[in-house]
């Protein structure tokens, strides 16, 4: 579904991604793990068209993504739940969700959008309760749900998530990952970026390990979970410590 070959991304002259190749098959959940600064966010932003000027080959459903800007990429069915959520805090939960479907409103898909809105509110009942509240008044977990809901409103076929567990208590991390599994079972393809490697690999089918802009390891998620190098580098810390360090 998504195939990336020898991707290089730049910030000015600095190269942040150094020849990455990866692929995501339809209805698969792939985890991309790596330490802070490894280039995970850069990779996701490049796929979404936020960082033009990359080199290499990126294809989505066999069509090249080169030269496309975010509106065209969203229209093709790729949505990103960005790092830090990037909600519109003063606007209501409902408005945030509706703006996720901006391009579809422009194509007058009103009825389908209303259906999807109901679906998202069923998926996250707490958002229904808070529908009229400003997004900024939600708790961290609720905001993450809203960010995911907003991305879903574009009706993507490939959902990219950038550290959805950031700053959340373990039970919320579990809740969010359960939702992702549910989405996957309903047919969604997911590329999940996480520093929380253990949690991500437990729900994913396959995983890639990114270090300094290179893929250093890849394979089925259970093999990565058992891998000695991965254990040492990313799973060494107890889960709770991990969470405490980032809250």
């Amino acid at each position: 579904m998504l195939r990336i070959r020898n991707l290089k991304c730049y910030y000015g002259r600095i190269r942040a991604i150094n020849g990455v190749s990866l692929s995501v098959k339809p209805r698969e959940m792939v985890a991309l793990i790596g330490a802070n600064g490894a280039g995970k966010s850069t990779l996701l932003q490049t796929i979404c068209g936020l960082l033009p000027g990359w080199e290499g080959d990126m294809r989505y459903e066999k069509e090249p993504l080169s030269g496309l800007r975010p509106p065209e990429i969203v229209r093709r069915g790729i949505s990103l739940v960005p790092e830090g959520r990037l909600l519109f805090p003063p606007m209501s939960v409902l408005d945030n969700l509706k703006l996720g479907a901006y391009l579809r409103y422009r194509r007058r898909e009103q009825a389908a959008i209303n259906g999807d809105l109901e679906h998202v509110l069923d998926l996250f009942p707490v958002l229904r309760e808070r529908a009229r509240q400003p997004a900024g008044t939600l708790s961290g977990g609720e905001q993450q749900m809203l960010a995911i809901g907003r991305a879903l409103m574009a009706r993507p076929r490939l959902l990219l998530l950038d550290e959805p567990s950031m700053g959340l208590a373990p039970f919320l991390v579990k809740l969010i990952l359960d939702i992702l599994v549910q989405l996957k079972d309903d047919g969604m393809t997911i590329l999940l970026v996480e520093q929380n490697a253990r949690a991500a690999l437990q729900v994913a089918d396959r995983g890639y390990v990114l270090e300094n802009g290179h893929i250093v390891l890849d394979g089925p998620a259970d093999e990565l979970l058992a891998d000695q190098d991965v254990k040492r580098a990313y799973l060494g810390k107890d889960y709770r410590e991990f969470y405490d360090g980032r809250a």
Partner: protein, 291 residues
């Protein structure tokens, strides 16, 4: 009392016009973070175009009204396209200087087009003035208040009730997030320029029948609109309306009870005072750190 009421009427009338000009500033600032010092020239272009189209070409009032707004909006779009968009490194100071440059250019062009003489247009309707509790109320004042009310309501509906309005707000809050959802921020910025120029034109159209208009009127009116916008809190639409009315009323009372030489000074006095005492404006306490 009667005297006070009279000043109040004239203050509210002028204040409503300042409010529209302030809305133009606010609208653009909210969407782009930019203070457009050519805003006053849009007012001037609005007033002079209206006089030419309505009194000169004898178009019907509604047609002249709409054509003027459309024309000035196009000038706003051209300003954005040619002068603002093309800047490589859009540092705020650079942009502000560009708008000052644009205002000088527009003033020069207007002087070539309309000459140095002052012009005025007739009142929108020829009804007799009303008597209210001994004070005279001009029909033109009612026109002005009515039109400003319609505009404020329409603007409110636009930002709260339409997808485009919400998308524009979203761009203002977080451009990157909006772009990620596929909202074309460039189009929204262009729309903000067009709307804020149109708002300035309305201010000019309303002013044309009640004062003399000439190519150099934009500077003072622009600064008064800016003062009203600051007074209410930059970025707050209701603040702009409130600030405009407040400025108009204070000005009228100052002129009435003290001296007419005070008129233009009051705006600047207020501006200094507000910058000193409450830089966020009356309603703008939260808005200032949004960007």
């Amino acid at each position: 009392m009667q005297e006070f009421l009279q000043y109040l009427f004239s203050g509210v009338t002028n204040g409503a016009i300042y409010a529209v000009i302030a809305l133009g500033f606010t609208m653009l600032y909210k969407s782009t973070g930019l203070i457009n010092f050519a805003q006053g020239e849009f007012v001037m272009l609005g007033a002079l175009s209206m006089i030419t189209l309505w009194s000169g070409f004898e178009l019907s009032l509604p047609l002249a009204f709409l054509l003027t707004i459309a024309g000035v909006s196009v000038v706003g779009i051209i300003l954005e396209r040619l002068a603002i968009r093309s800047v490589r490194k859009p540092h705020p100071i650079v942009l502000i200087i560009i708008t000052i440059g644009a205002s000088i250019l527009l003033r020069g062009v207007a002087m070539l087009g309309w000459g140095k003489d002052a012009h005025s247009s007739p009142a929108f309707s020829r009804n007799e003035p009303f008597e209210v509790a001994g004070a005279t109320l001009l029909p033109q004042s009612l026109w002005i208040l009515g039109i400003v009310l319609v505009i404020v309501t329409a603007l409110h509906f636009f930002t709260r009730g339409t997808l485009t309005g919400k998308a524009m707000q979203a761009c203002a809050i977080n451009k990157r997030a909006a772009w990620l959802l596929g909202i074309p921020s460039e189009t929204m910025v262009l729309l903000a320029f067009a709307m804020s120029a149109g708002m300035g034109a309305v201010g000019g159209i309303l002013i044309a029948p009640i004062s003399m208009s000439s190519y150099d009127m934009g500077m003072t009116l622009g600064l008064k609109g800016f003062c009203a916008a600051m007074l209410g809190g930059l970025g707050s639409s209701w603040g702009a309306v409130l600030g405009g009315l407040l400025l108009g009323i204070l000005e009228a009372l100052g002129v009435g009870f003290f001296s007419s030489s005070l008129k233009d000074g009051i705006a600047f006095l207020l501006l200094l005072l507000i910058l000193y005492v409450r830089p966020a404006g009356i309603l703008g306490a939260r808005a200032v750190h949004r960007f």
